[in-house]
């Protein structure tokens, strides 16, 4: 099968612009997660990692990016940077765009606008880059980012394009925050993945882009899988069925794994489910970490953002500390989670995600395969 590589990536988060800058911030244990009162007109305070929108829109304006929603603007900024780093032509028919988001411009609905279709945003962003192909948006709940990377990999394997630009983003809104509040899924404090004291998730905003190509480079996207629990639309499987099936499908040699970058939302059921899936897959001796304590749950951006940061971690020989974890494991299986940065010499990792609708996804990435 044709091998697929990451040519470049870029992330934009409340911690700053740039994958490298973000990785440095994460290594230092920084986060923009904080309590928001009255933000978006939400009555109850909530803990989240949010952008300074005015600053970013001003930055975009300087670059001549004007007339787009905030959601579209952050996608354009990250994609533009990833594309120029990769040195590919965004307007070539050989370049295909794959987008990833869950709610896109849904905040426009509050303002009475119906211009909320995910396909409209995708069209506007790909038109900004002059791309002639009809873009596709993966909207697979919280696994969207990984599902989009997997879709990009498949497009290249199927020889439909020479380069694929995968772009994912999520902005928060009254719509999303009140929704998670209604589900009693939000933590009143900093989230604590895998911790005994975890009380729920924190929401986050981010945009992330990755250019994939068949040209050999440092990182190979080796294998990906998407599996459904076929259990419940909002509760994860108690047996970790879908996540286990994903891990079974993608892990080839567990000895090569530096770590598993878990979903680790910090909800009671998700983290417990992941620990069961990891045990069933025979991976309890592999370090497990979650990035939600730095960024919150960035929904449609999470798969791409967390994959890009994990690549940096492997390059740096680091297993990133799980921020928010206090050392008191709160899942039934003894997964190796740590609140301190660790060292590794291994060159591969698995990114794991799960979401509403019973979906789960895993992606195996390996460094050095192309050289």
């Amino acid at each position: 099968m044709t091998k697929v590589y990451r040519k470049s990536d870029e992330v934009l988060t409340p911690l700053g612009m740039g994958t490298e800058e973000n990785f440095r911030a994460v290594l230092e244990g920084r986060s923009q997660l904080r309590l928001h009162e009255g933000t978006f007109g939400v009555k109850e305070p909530f803990f989240a990692s949010l952008f300074d929108r005015d600053a970013i829109m001003a930055e975009a304006l300087k670059k001549g990016i004007e007339g787009y929603s905030f959601f579209e603007t952050i996608m354009i900024l990250t994609a533009d940077s990833a594309i120029s780093k990769a040195g590919i032509s965004a307007s070539s028919p050989d370049t295909v765009f794959v987008f990833s988001t869950i709610k896109g411009n849904v905040d426009a609905l509050e303002k009475g606008s119906e211009d909320v279709l995910l396909s409209s945003s995708a069209e506007r962003v790909s038109r900004y880059f002059g791309n002639p192909n009809s873009p596709i948006t993966v909207s697979n709940a919280c696994i969207s980012g990984l599902a989009a990377l997997i879709q990009g990999q498949r497009i290249l394997r199927g020889s439909r394009a020479r380069n694929v630009v995968v772009v994912g983003a999520e902005v928060q809104s009254k719509f999303i925050v009140t929704g998670f509040q209604s589900l009693k899924a939000l933590s009143p404090e900093q989230c604590k993945p895998f911790d005994a004291g975890r009380q729920g998730l924190n929401l986050g905003e981010a945009a992330a882009a990755m250019v994939l190509s068949t040209d050999p480079s440092d990182w190979e996207l080796v294998e990906g899988a998407v599996r459904n629990d076929a259990n419940h639309i909002s509760g994860p499987s108690r047996t970790g069925e879908g996540s286990y099936n994903c891990l079974r499908a993608v892990v080839q040699d567990k000895e090569e794994l530096a770590f598993i970058s878990a979903h680790g939302t910090s909800t009671a059921y998700n983290d417990e489910m992941e620990s069961i899936a990891i045990e069933r897959a025979g991976l309890l001796d592999i370090p497990v970490g979650a990035l939600k304590g730095y960024y919150g749950h960035t929904m449609g951006a999470a798969g791409i953002l967390e994959t890009a940061i994990s690549m940096k971690a492997v390059e740096n020989g680091t297993v990133i500390a799980t921020r928010g974890f206090t050392g008191n494991l709160g899942v039934s299986r003894p997964v190796k989670v740590s609140n301190e940065n660790g060292k590794t010499t291994r060159q591969a990792f698995v990114k794991l995600l799960s979401g509403f609708g019973g979906v789960n996804a895993a992606l195996l990435c390996r460094r050095g395969g192309g050289r």
Partner: protein
């Protein structure tokens, strides 16, 4: 109408229990689990909302719901004691 009967009608409406009438719900039968109505976690959240909307009861900790929502009877007696409207 008695509170239990009113409550049954409100439950049917809030949870979209199609085709059911208040007579179909046994006041003492379990609401959750495989017996009785077989409700799930989202239904539980809707029941919490129902109590807030109609009776002005704000449940701080959703875990409390477990005892309160055992049956229509237990729910009705909790509402009697705690209602503010």
């Amino acid at each position: 109408m008695e509170l239990t009967e009113t409550l049954k009608a409100q439950i049917i409406e809030a949870l979209n229990l199609d085709g059911m009438t208040p007579e179909d719900i046994d006041s003492s039968a379990p609401l959750f689990g495989d017996e009785g109505l077989g409700l799930d976690s989202i239904d539980a959240l809707e029941l919490i909302l129902l109590m807030e909307k109609n009776y002005g009861i704000k449940l701080k900790n959703p875990a409390e719901g477990k005892e309160i929502f055992k049956s229509v009877e237990t729910m009705a007696s909790y509402i009697e004691k705690n209602r503010t409207k």
